[in-house]
Symmetry: C2
Subunit: 345 residues, 2 copies
């Protein structure tokens, strides 16, 4: 958190410059801001204040005779202390809620739709990170023997997510035994996260080592492989929206941006850190360590099932995004998502 104290007037001017810069993307001059916002002082006074704000490091001047542009610190300060959120209209809210509820029971589609909504409403890239595999709460597991040495494992999570894996298994075993084992897992571990199940299994195996026969041990091993965490799935939509912003029109910048979007693991890593804190978070510029996204801002919020954080929804765009409307958008989307997931029992 930045500890800067500003006079009301300075705040007013900061706010006006930021607002105008969000719209135009060009350096904002004193006269322009004066005309536009009808501030009760002359351009000269505004100029003086702007010079002061530049001294503190909130503004930056591309060249001597240009207007001012907010610096990263400027954005940070604006977001933390001045910004007034503009709640979504009830219209928009019902639209979002309905759209997501339409896809009930199909989690993948719900998540895809969420990223679409985020993108369409914000005019930036909309991102949703699917629930982490190891955080999924086990509801049901099933093994199907496909042929002699191939087993299909199906895991149903409490949110309705379904995972399946085909695993080579070179030990002769019949479907009955597999079903019995699945049954054992279902009765003993339903309600735990897959991560926990995995761990408990290791413990069980260690504890009762003596008791187990060879086959049973193999099956334990098999389920270890089934519960191996997998890559996180990331839904991204609206990446082309960034083409509308002149600050990214440089081919070099654009390539690195789009490459970052294409490499979904980068986005997954970036949004991983939002999981710490169950509320909406904003990252500006170099607060984002990820290559290619340092000129961007991210508004992100985790979504949950009950108390458990599952994944993240986010909007990624240029620093000059309209935080006042986008923060509530992200917040609300996460909230609706959490609600929908809570009701899937």
């Amino acid at each position: 958190m930045v500890s800067i104290v500003l006079s009301n007037r300075a705040k007013q001017i900061l706010s006006a410059v930021v607002d105008m810069y969000i719209q135009t993307g060009e350096p904002v001059g004193s006269r322009a801001v004066w005309k536009r916002y009808k501030l009760p002082m002359s351009p000269a006074t505004i100029r003086n204040v702007m010079a002061d704000l530049e001294d503190i490091g909130l503004f930056y001047q591309p060249h001597t005779s240009a207007g001012r542009v907010p610096t990263e610190l400027g954005w940070r300060f604006y977001i933390d202390t001045i910004l007034e959120k503009r709640p979504l209209s009830t219209q928009h809210k019902t639209k979002i809620r309905q759209n997501l509820k339409e896809a009930k029971y199909n989690i993948e589609q719900i998540l895809r739709r969420s990223s679409h909504i985020l993108s369409a409403f914000s005019h930036h890239a909309g991102v949703v990170v699917a629930p982490k595999f190891s955080r999924i709460v086990l509801k049901h597991i099933e093994f199907v023997k496909l042929k002699k040495d191939l087993v299909l494992a199906i895991i149903v999570g409490s949110t309705g997510t379904v995972y399946h894996r085909i695993i080579p298994f070179y030990t002769p075993i019949d479907q009955d035994n597999l079903s019995r084992f699945a049954n054992y897992l279902n009765t003993s571990f339903a309600g735990l996260t897959l991560g926990e199940v995995r761990q408990k299994l290791v413990e069980e195996m260690r504890k009762d080592k003596a008791e187990f026969d060879a086959i049973w041990r193999k099956v334990f091993h098999l389920s270890q492989r089934v519960l191996q965490p997998e890559n996180e799935y990331v839904y991204i939509e609206g990446t082309t929206n960034i083409l509308n912003y002149p600050e990214f029109s440089d081919v070099q910048t654009m390539r690195s941006l789009l490459t970052a979007f294409e490499e979904k693991s980068i986005i997954a890593r970036l949004l991983d850190r939002t999981l710490q804190d169950a509320k909406v978070q904003v990252f500006v510029g170099s607060e984002i360590a990820e290559e290619g996204l340092k000129e961007c801002s991210v508004v992100a919020s985790p979504y949950m099932r009950g108390e458990t954080v599952l994944g993240t929804v986010a909007v990624i765009g240029p620093m000059r995004m309209n935080y006042g409307t986008i923060i509530p958008l992200v917040e609300y989307t996460a909230q609706v998502l959490s609600e929908i997931l809570a009701n899937t029992d």
Copy 2:
């Protein structure tokens, strides 16, 4: 097919110009081509021939004092009659084969890897359209009752593809009945495509209408919903490669291109027509009806399981792509894919 007959010399010059244009992307002049390819004639002669080729419509001159650029017709002719394919090196071949075989049993990953390979080797966008749902051959189907009014259906295809669907089902039914029905489907219809299964079910239901009790009919209906075709899945990788090509550096063109890539259904529609013919196909420029891709070329080949065409692999890039190496690349990738899918029984 175009019916144009050219002298050897004209072919040689066409070939040289095309080759040089592939490398530079800029209009090719007579002197440059003469120096580079050491053709046994003077620039003036080359100029004359180039003028002739322009008359036929194979070349185009951006302005009076510029070199020549192949027209769409020019590309078509070149591809159909002059092009010499340059087979992949054994090195590359084993690399591709190994990479794909590594992911055995995980069809999704195999397809994803295929698109990655296509993109990495061609330096353009690599595309793979997953097998069409209704063409999947049924190997195994299973119903799992999740809760009172929710059924999870799992379909395993003969290629190892697994589909799952969660379906609301408001008729009280126990797991036993569901299993019995699944069993019926497995024994009666395994080996048929899902499309066929769907149709047969309708017939069965009609034929024996009288015999069925209410529940049984509901279950029939349920499986109709399960077998509903779903959107085709498309894997695209390397879309950012197009940023390297100056012909797309115009922001407008780029946006429409990237938008087309983001809207995967457009790509699916485009590649749908390749399913007709089980061999590699090339589409140039306006032969592609799809919005935003009219300045591109597509090299596509279906992949199969046995005699059945399943889906398509393709490379999408600028018209001046290196067809000589890309056609064999696409051909080979489709072939390896078909081999791998053939062995999954």
